[in-house]
Amino acid sequence: MKRILCLMLTLCFVLAVGCAPAQPSSPAAPAAPAAPGAPEAPASSKVIPDEIKLGLMSTISGGQAIDGKNMTDAITLVSEELEALGGLDVDGKKVKISWVIEDTEAKPEIAVNAVQKLIEQDKVLAIVGPNNSGETIASGEISQAAKVPQITNTGTNIKVTQVGDYIFRACIIDPFQGIVVAKFAYDNLKITKAAILYDNADTYSSGLSESFKNAYEALGGTIVANEAYSGQDVKDFSAQLTIIKNANPEAIFYPSHIENIPLQLQQTRGMGITATLLGCDSWDYAALPDLVGRDVLEGAYYVTGFSPDADSAKDFVKKFNDRFGYRPSFCSAMAYEAAHIVLNAIQRAETIDGPGVRDAMAATDMDLPSGHVKFDEFRNPVKSGTVLQVRDGVAQYVTSIEPD
């Protein structure tokens, strides 16, 4: 017994010593392979390298591989735009931007490995992604410690940017999305009885359901059923939907990832429930009507931070559609914007390193496909939420609801 205890203590000690230096070891990392004595450096002491490496973290494989494809396509578009220009123009010098892509497999622990590789091995200047809140929170701790700015495209959970001042996001936040859906349902649709079906194993889904519930009840509505399921592997929702059906709501809110939405909606209609369907930004996937079935999805509403029909987005949507043959999803649009926020910050940064780019990112003030973007003090973008309705299999713009 003593020997085991002794062994375990030794093990703990070894682990503690082994882990401790891993974090502070890389503050100098983001300097990138700097070109020695780049001659045409302007008056300031700003050193401009020939090449800058940026990281992209995304769910390339696993259940959310669709999002991964949406993101890598967006980044491909960004790099092709840059190639056409001969590189990123930083104070008159064309800098080559290269992307290092890492898979998170939609798992926080894999995301931690990926971010360590990006920072310590690839020495990236900044990181775009990952697309989920859970992985962004986990990997953000490491970027924060290493002073590498990181910007998630669709990590909507409020806690993401609370990790530290190096963590940004390109999308609107969960509480705000939940509030927009609640306001829209109560004020615009005049619905007073709503139900929720959410994934309690997922930060995104449970965060949204909670903010919706609080906002909706504060407005005066009643949540008649609040049903959970555990994890993306659940495919049968008949038990939860039976309870929801018996509670007889006028609308049902489905704050889940895209993989589960088709089955949830099909099973809802399959049980003869006729309530209005309400969704969130994960629904914003061009093929959703075909995946769910057009008759099932007809008339459903969802909230997103990006409308492809907005004037500001037309140019981007056309370019994306011409290149990849499908309309950009919310995930693609936000990855595109996140990349541009980083590139724009590199152009404005006083020094090309982590802190310099971070300061420039915090001062972002630019026009992007979703509209004009600025950051608030918590590094969340200030922009309005868009409500879309699916009519004849196409999501159409209904209204915008301003942040308050």
């Binding site: 049968d236 039976t242 309870i243 993989e259």
Partner: protein
């Protein structure tokens, strides 16, 4: 009461899918004492096979029950042959090695097939919508909503399981299977072709997985290359709860698993998933060899 019966119907339907899948686990284990962790992926292959046959031959036509059954049988035959091939390539060379080697090989096969199918350009990472094989009609009996599709699936599963039981108990190949499961070496001495019996077992197991895949995809019409993983695990647990090695046990375990999962989700959805496993653990604590399993005598 109406709600209870309603949930029971949902549970039985889910259970019939688990049961068909669990049979494959149990048969392979019964015959070569190996846990085929890649069994769930046969379900995935089967549903993709049916998907491609239907979408290539019939496009968007509603094909009706008779043709649908034929398509499912063809799809399951294809999957059955893949199953035989997998056994020949990946498991047979390891047959004389420790059991753990073939189990690791099976995990490898599972990861490989999922990623290989994903890398095929005509499959890819995006989910596909499984076509409707027959028009589903809803009808009510005393406040309970029944769906034709669900009833057909439950009925067909029971018919298939009964047929399989007849094959194992009444035919020559079935008898050979039973002898191999009792004692491989002795039955080989009696002139039983072991390789052939194992191939037939894998064929039947994979074909049943494919049928359950088609049924599963008809009820939950989203196809993904990873769809077999969790289902495979649940079916494995169902097989163990029923008593691994026993076909009737697999069927019973599958139905219990489905009904328990649905019932507990209805009572308290927050804990459902975890709690349904607690029930299964309790069953195993009370009867470690599974509900219908015989206590195994370890031979030295």
């Amino acid at each position: 009461m109406a709600t209870f019966v309603q949930l029971l119907v949902y549970g039985l339907q889910l259970g019939s899918i688990y049961a068909l899948l669990a049979i494959g686990y149990t048969m392979v284990f019964g015959i070569i004492r190996m846990i085929n962790m890649a069994h769930g992926d046969f379900l995935m292959m089967g549903s993709y096979a049916v998907f491609f046959i239907v979408s290539l031959l019939f496009a968007d036509l509603m094909i009706g029950p008779a043709v649908a059954l034929l398509v499912i049988l063809i799809g399951s035959a294809i999957t059955g042959l893949i199953g035989v091939g997998v056994e020949r390539i990946a498991y047979k060379p390891l047959r004389s090695r420790p059991k753990i080697s073939s189990m690791i090989a099976a995990i490898g096969v599972s990861i490989f097939t999922q990623n290989f199918f994903r890398s095929l350009p005509f499959i890819g990472p995006n989910p596909r919508t499984f076509p409707k094989l027959m028009e589903d009609t809803l009808f009510f009996i005393g406040g309970i909503q029944l769906s034709m599709m669900r009833l057909v699936i439950i009925a067909l599963s029971i018919v298939i399981m009964a047929l399989l039981y007849l094959v194992v108990m009444k035919t020559k190949i079935g008898m050979q299977m039973r002898t191999v499961s009792c004692d491989k070496d002795a039955s080989s001495l009696m002139g039983v072709n072991i390789n052939r019996v194992i191939s037939v077992t894998f064929f039947i197991g994979a074909a049943l997985a494919a049928i359950s895949g088609a049924f599963y995809a008809s009820s939950y019409p989203i196809l993904l290359v990873t769809m077999g993983a969790t289902l495979g695990n649940k079916a494995f647990i169902a097989a163990v709860v029923g008593g691994i090695g026993d076909i009737r046990g697999a069927v019973l375990g599958g139905f219990i698993m489905g009904v328990v999962e649905i019932m507990i989700s209805a009572v308290y959805s927050e804990l459902a998933y975890g709690f349904s496993f607690v029930v299964l653990v309790i069953i195993l604590l009370l009867k470690p060899e599974g509900l219908l399993g015989k206590p195994m005598i370890e031979k030295v």
